[in-house]
Symmetry: C2
Subunit: 552 residues, 2 copies
Amino acid sequence: MDATKAALPQVSFDTAPDRYRHWKLTFDGPVATLSMDVQEDAGLSPDYKLKLNSYDLGVDIELADAIQRIRFEHPEVHAVVVTSLKERVFCAGANIFMLRGSSHAWKVNFCKFTNETRLAIEDASAHSGIKFLAALNGICAGGGYELALACDEIFLVDDGNSAVSLPETPLLGVLPGTGGLTRVVDKRKVRRDLADVFGTVAEGVKGKRAVEWRLVDAVYPTSQFKQRVAVRAQELAAMSDRPASGPGITLTPLAPTVTDTGITYSAVTLEIDRDKRVATLTVTGPGPGQPDTVEAIHALGDRFWPLRAFRELDDALLRLRLNDPLIGTVVVRTRGDQGAMIAIDELLLANQDDWFVREIVHFVKRTLKRMDLTSRSFFALIEPGSCFAGTLFELALAADRSYMLDDPDAANTIALSKMNGGLLKMSNGLTRLETRFLAEPEQVDRVLERDGPFDPQAALDAGLVSFAPDELDWDDEVRLAIESRAALSPDALTGMEANLRFAGPETMETKIFGRLTAWQNWIFIRPNAVGAKGALTAYGSQSRPEFDFNRT
Amino acid sequence: MDATKAALPQVSFDTAPDRYRHWKLTFDGPVATLSMDVQEDAGLSPDYKLKLNSYDLGVDIELADAIQRIRFEHPEVHAVVVTSLKERVFCAGANIFMLRGSSHAWKVNFCKFTNETRLAIEDASAHSGIKFLAALNGICAGGGYELALACDEIFLVDDGNSAVSLPETPLLGVLPGTGGLTRVVDKRKVRRDLADVFGTVAEGVKGKRAVEWRLVDAVYPTSQFKQRVAVRAQELAAMSDRPASGPGITLTPLAPTVTDTGITYSAVTLEIDRDKRVATLTVTGPGPGQPDTVEAIHALGDRFWPLRAFRELDDALLRLRLNDPLIGTVVVRTRGDQGAMIAIDELLLANQDDWFVREIVHFVKRTLKRMDLTSRSFFALIEPGSCFAGTLFELALAADRSYMLDDPDAANTIALSKMNGGLLKMSNGLTRLETRFLAEPEQVDRVLERDGPFDPQAALDAGLVSFAPDELDWDDEVRLAIESRAALSPDALTGMEANLRFAGPETMETKIFGRLTAWQNWIFIRPNAVGAKGALTAYGSQSRPEFDFNRT
């Protein structure tokens, strides 16, 4: 089987409000309105029409971009109303015909990205002082309701027709897998028996019952709806600690050089070796002449190294996921000046009360989570000249393993900063050091208190790296590790990594990616959903699905 | 597709030490020794040989029985050594040829049962004062190591050859799905990068490194091994709060009447309607003349209603899972005297310091968990004459929905007891009332404080039942609910229920059943594992597996 020939559409994540085809982003003082108005004929593929504000990945890329830009470009925005410009329709959810026509890997990665986008909404609410109000002006089904669930509050129009629903199970034989089931019982705390009913009635729930069941926060008649939304949006905006006015920071296009064998950005490169199914991800640390005041950081804007480098890293990870599914192992390298990296960390930590610095830190955090959640094996290679220090050491901690060269003739160190101590939490609510040292929590403080870098033996003794081969063993040990990884079942590796990476407590976020996503992935490959007579296949045709009714 | 014709071996869970074929259970004062000695030719099916102490469901049924009997029949046992009678072999794990030849549903239910058995070991340690020491006298691979992980401590012989290993991913393209991955990082807190290495090297880890990596607690040379195990077993036994001597309570065979359309026990019946794919589970509450002292309870032994009824319920659930996979919906009914049920609860609560009473309560707890974890839809029907009170009301709380008839001409009530308030915790560490009322935790105390039963309106108002149709609507509403459930995709229902039933905190147990099991189930249906050239299919043959290397 020559799987290396698989051709996929090359997805770009680059967009901007003036190029949006599916969303309108408007501003009115502290309130932004993000209105869904999906163009039926502007899907990523011509094979389906995006009717009734149904969405594909392209629609969600714009949504993710809009949320990101509100955070960076519009500090004066304190609340966001998420609504629709279509009459009597909020959103019909993910496009079924798109799902039906997609490969398993595409479905899984589409859902992963849309999950990350919804979690980014909740991250903005929790950490950036931006509250989200879902203003459901019409029918709100499946992924549409899952988008609403990610908002802080949900208002539904009470017009006798508009309902919220999760019709995935009754109509399609799949799950509301973009956080839907989890958020219904864990975030909105809908009683489990009512959630069971809600999850099996295709028509959904509307009006007062939707409020009583906690599915929405309020319903209002059409005549009052817009005004109630406007009033509540102002109230939500008043809670914010964001600046009263701008200017914001413009996010300019990344414009990487993309070739058949890699992607080159300013601080990040991704080199693809398709024969070996291995990619090399290299991040270059901050150079000389970094700013030392908050004013200078603002003046640099998106050219400031942490934002620039992590935007590039984020983009590289996303392209890798969608465009290069055959790459199983990613070798992670860094290079640069560790002192400059630590200085940047200290600068960020000293200025956390600045809104822009806060946004940068949370963006770095989200990018590192994106790495944790990427189903590829990551091996960090720590060699002389590398820059695994502070924030960039998180890349080694996020990796499944790390190898550090112990060559007496070539100095090689790693270093920690306070940034490793608390701000860059994983989905499980712990830092990567806390997750690493679950067995000996006191080791977290011990390694953070060290003044100065760790040489290979010290790093190994401290448990900060997996292995420290000497110069005689290095080449063979690293090569064998990479080669043997590439030979293993990619599915087993995905499952193994999903279980080993997130020890410790569970959060709504890890539940969504661990429990809900895993079940959805299972269902996405079962004949009852995707077989010739499965429900996803039969949807929209004249034929009814036929099930193998064996329960597992 | 006429799936109703599917024929499966009828599995019985009835066994006893004098009939074990694969284990020897011996006693030496406070220490029991449970020795694996699997008979190659005594598998449930003649299609495979159980070499090297590999196991199938039949082996695990004996293990589960042994643990149960130690708890009830041998109160004088305070520690259990789990070891093997085979030279240089502890256990090679689940039998690969059995897995390869099994249907997906069988694999899933086999793993579920073995997971429950290992959790029963941990339950005995946490709640019954019985500590478990895994004495690994030889190679210990896959499910063998997962069994060891369920014990409190693991000793490994240091003979230069014996290793612990999880070869599932490198050899078979599947996961160590019987809790292995979860327990490695969450229970033993093995560092995630070391766990990653351990999970990908087929030969495993032995000697000092196994201790350093926290995979085992100690290694001893062959010459010292038995003596060290014996000494430590005595130390563990000394920690127990169990009685110094018996007598225990003999668990006599349940001996139900099994026909093609159902199973009849003394207090439980399971009626199977294969055409509708619906079963009716009826539990009859305690009759008149229940004991009122601990002595009387002991005198009744396994004829005491709670133990008898819940042993029958447990057996019925297990048979349903394995022998009737086409039954998708289970209607749950009860009948009997609510006052007698509440009196039993009060008697149990008043005598919790008695070892036998304690065992009964934890057994009831485990049986109810078995119901939570059974992938069938449960609808409780609460009608006049029913006995949904106290412990038996947990059946309604465990159900996905409950319907309570509100007929002014026929009194119909439910009632709570203190047993609903704390002892019968779910896998998520909460009671079913706490899970139900996550949105309003104060409601838990409010309903528990009520003196007396709830009529249908009061039960509905209190949120204790899902619906309370009147006598005009009852038949249609119940019939439609059951019929429409039976028409849905069984896979989507399984995934939905697995997500909705366990809101709130996660525990190692919910991680095993939610996250790890879901990923394993996904992998168990992927071509890379079970396809014509998948790793599970290719194992033991001359051909190497061929993978689709697309990552998801």
